[in-house]
């Protein structure tokens, strides 16, 4: 019987032409629901709970905690680590991306670099920290130096390990967008290589470079497992202190302080990502 029903070829399905017109926004519902449940809802909880005391009553005085020198210290630590690793990652990554872009666009080398960067940009956490421990750690195979444990230098070095490949991935399209004709035009007008980069290439790439820098900054801000495996006896950065505030066994846990620290990070990320969006808009003009 099933065969009989499916062989009625040519017959219009019963629902054909009877579908009510669907408003265009319906297509965005899955996306908005996802963002709502996994981004907006948790952010809302963080904001609300950071302004309450452990008994659930409103406590707007919590905000003054952000001025506490200890709390400020965690944000300064996070800021130092993010600036160090994102600047180092962006500069080295940009140079590498330029080298890759000047090679054969369909060559094996380029495909290899992109594939490897895609993998290494995601390499982090305990695995990465342990890999560094056994190579450059106290009894590592090569060149151990005591400054590896002077925050933020050693951990900054480790972070660049995933920052450089990420920079290659996000910066390569911008370099590819530099048209060879622009270079030829400036050379025809008698510009030196320095003048080309100073007046043409540099200004064109700068918004993309700064945008990528901000992306790297945000990427470093939330990393937690790597530093926790590298040096966890002191809280240097905000995510480490959030962990203490959530799970202290010695009576120092305070969920509301954890929420407040998280709120500080949300604000920081919002500022960075706004800057990123503005720079992207400028950079996109030249990449069409």
């Amino acid at each position: 019987m099933a065969v009989a029903t499916t062989t009625q070829t040519g017959a219009r399905p019963w629902w054909a032409g009877r579908r009510p017109p669907t408003p265009a926004w319906v297509g965005t519902v899955p996306f908005l629901a996802y963002v709502g449940v996994f981004l907006l809802w948790p952010t809302g909880i963080v904001v609300v709970d950071s302004l309450k005391n452990p008994n659930g009553a409103w406590a707007f005085s919590n905000i003054s905690e952000l001025g506490n020198p200890l709390v400020r210290g965690y944000f300064i630590g996070s800021f130092k680590l993010c600036v160090l690793s994102s600047v180092a990652g962006a500069v080295l990554g940009a140079i590498l991306a330029y080298a890759v872009a000047s090679g054969d666009p369909d060559g094996v080398g380029r495909r290899l670099y992109i594939a490897v960067s895609g993998v290494l940009a995601q390499f982090g956490g305990v695995t990465l920290a342990f890999a560094f421990l056994v190579t450059i750690g106290p009894v590592g195979l090569l060149f151990h130096a005591s400054w590896y444990f002077d925050f933020p230098w050693g951990i900054g070095l480790i972070y660049t390990y995933f920052q450089i490949p990420l920079m290659v991935l996000v910066f390569l399209p911008a370099i590819d967008g530099l048209k060879v004709q622009w270079r030829e035009a400036s050379e025809n007008l008698g510009a030196s290589a320095w003048q080309y980069w100073r007046y043409v290439g540099g200004p064109l790439l700068m918004p993309a470079f700064l945008g990528a820098l901000l992306l790297l900054f945000a990427n470093a801000l939330s990393a937690f497992a790597t530093i926790q495996a590298w040096e966890n006896q002191i809280a240097y950065i905000v995510p480490q202190q959030i962990s203490t505030a959530l799970s202290s066994e010695v009576g120092l846990s305070n969920v509301n302080v954890a929420d407040l620290l998280a709120l500080g990070m949300v604000i920081l990320v919002a500022i960075v990502m706004t800057g990123y969006a503005l720079l992207q808009r400028r950079a996109a003009r030249w990449l069409r």
Partner: protein, 328 residues
């Protein structure tokens, strides 16, 4: 006692929670209890935490699955005494007064002393100040962040006592770690069995029963444990009975078994697992202790110190304000 055994056998079952079989010899203890009394032991959530034990008692209250007995960290025990039934085992008087609730709501069971485990490549360590010497460059680690992990807080407190500080003021301990940092000897890596095996944390402050070569997983000849003179800092777990225990007689019989001083009783079984049973002192005087197991423990000189709740809070607050500054 025989009436208790009969009642417990009639119940036939005991529910225990958060007892890892490799921890303090619990695998053997559970087997022996089942064999001796013919009572089935249901062991749930073997790797659970103290807080999870309390949560299970609350959420499963009134069901046949609820835990009958708990083996619980002292801080969590003190915060939840309303869940416990008072009981005094027959060896009650052999538990030191500072290590039990006067009303019998909880009673410490086994534990250890804060100790320094170290690689034998350093020779023999006999005092804390040796750790400031140049050969310990980048070697000395705690087990976690002292504002967060209990073992790390006690590590700083132990250094504090060795440096002449008192249990009420941890400042000397923090100063010691600041000196260690200035000498370049402080190692901020998170110490685990894996880092000890890999040789990246060669000197580790941790409880002695978690600092034994067998527990860490290194050959016996390559790792030693040392407790500084007059810095004997104890940390013990506690037993408590659920006041709504589904098997109340079996729960009490279990406690009698754990606090039995017999050669095959709970106190000696814990000792054989490298933990220090709470009645050790009394058992040493009345010669019921397993002497070969006792002599395998790290040697100590001085009177054991146990932090009170107020001392613990004072130390935690001092660390919250000063730890990062001292070693950051």
């Amino acid at each position: 006692m025989s009436a208790l055994i009969a009642a417990a056998k009639k119940e036939g079952t005991l529910n225990v929670i958060a007892l890892p079989p490799t921890w303090a010899n619990y695998g053997t203890i559970i087997d022996d209890f089942q064999k001796t009394y013919g009572i089935t032991v249901n062991s749930t959530l073997p790797d659970g935490t103290s807080q999870q034990e309390v949560d299970a008692v609350k959420t499963e209250n009134g069901t046949a699955k609820a835990p009958d007995v708990m083996d619980i960290g002292l801080a969590v025990a003190l915060a939840n005494t309303s869940l416990f039934a008072p009981y005094e085992v027959s060896t009650w008087s052999d538990i030191p007064a500072a290590q039990k609730d006067p009303n019998g709501l909880w009673y410490e069971d086994y534990g250890g002393y804060m100790a320094i485990g170290y690689s034998t490549k350093f020779g023999t360590i006999t005092s804390l100040s040796q750790l400031l010497g140049p050969k310990f460059k980048g070697a000395v680690a705690l087990n976690g962040n002292p504002t967060s992990a209990n073992a790390a807080l006690n590590g700083v407190m132990m250094a504090n006592l060795a440096e002449g500080g008192t249990a009420s003021n941890i400042a000397d301990g923090v100063n010691f770690f600041a000196k260690l940092k200035a000498a370049g000897n402080f190692n901020p890596i998170s110490a685990t069995g894996a880092t000890i095996k890999a040789g990246t944390t060669e000197v580790v402050f941790n409880w002695d029963y978690l600092n034994l070569p067998s527990y860490v997983g290194v050959p016996a000849g390559s790792w030693k444990v040392f407790i500084p003179q007059n810095a004997v800092l104890g940390g013990y777990y506690a037993q408590a009975i659920n006041k709504d225990a589904p098997h109340p007689a079996a729960a009490r019989l279990w406690e009698e078994f754990l606090y039995s001083q017999a050669a095959s009783g709970g106190q000696n079984l814990w000792l054989e697992g490298g933990a220090r049973p709470v009645e050790q002192q009394a058992m040493t005087s009345n010669s019921s202790i397993n002497t070969s197991a006792a002599s395998a423990l790290p040697a100590v000189t001085g009177t054991p110190v146990f932090l009170t709740e107020a001392q613990n809070t004072a130390a935690a607050n001092y660390l919250a304000a000063n730890w990062a500054k001292a070693v950051g």
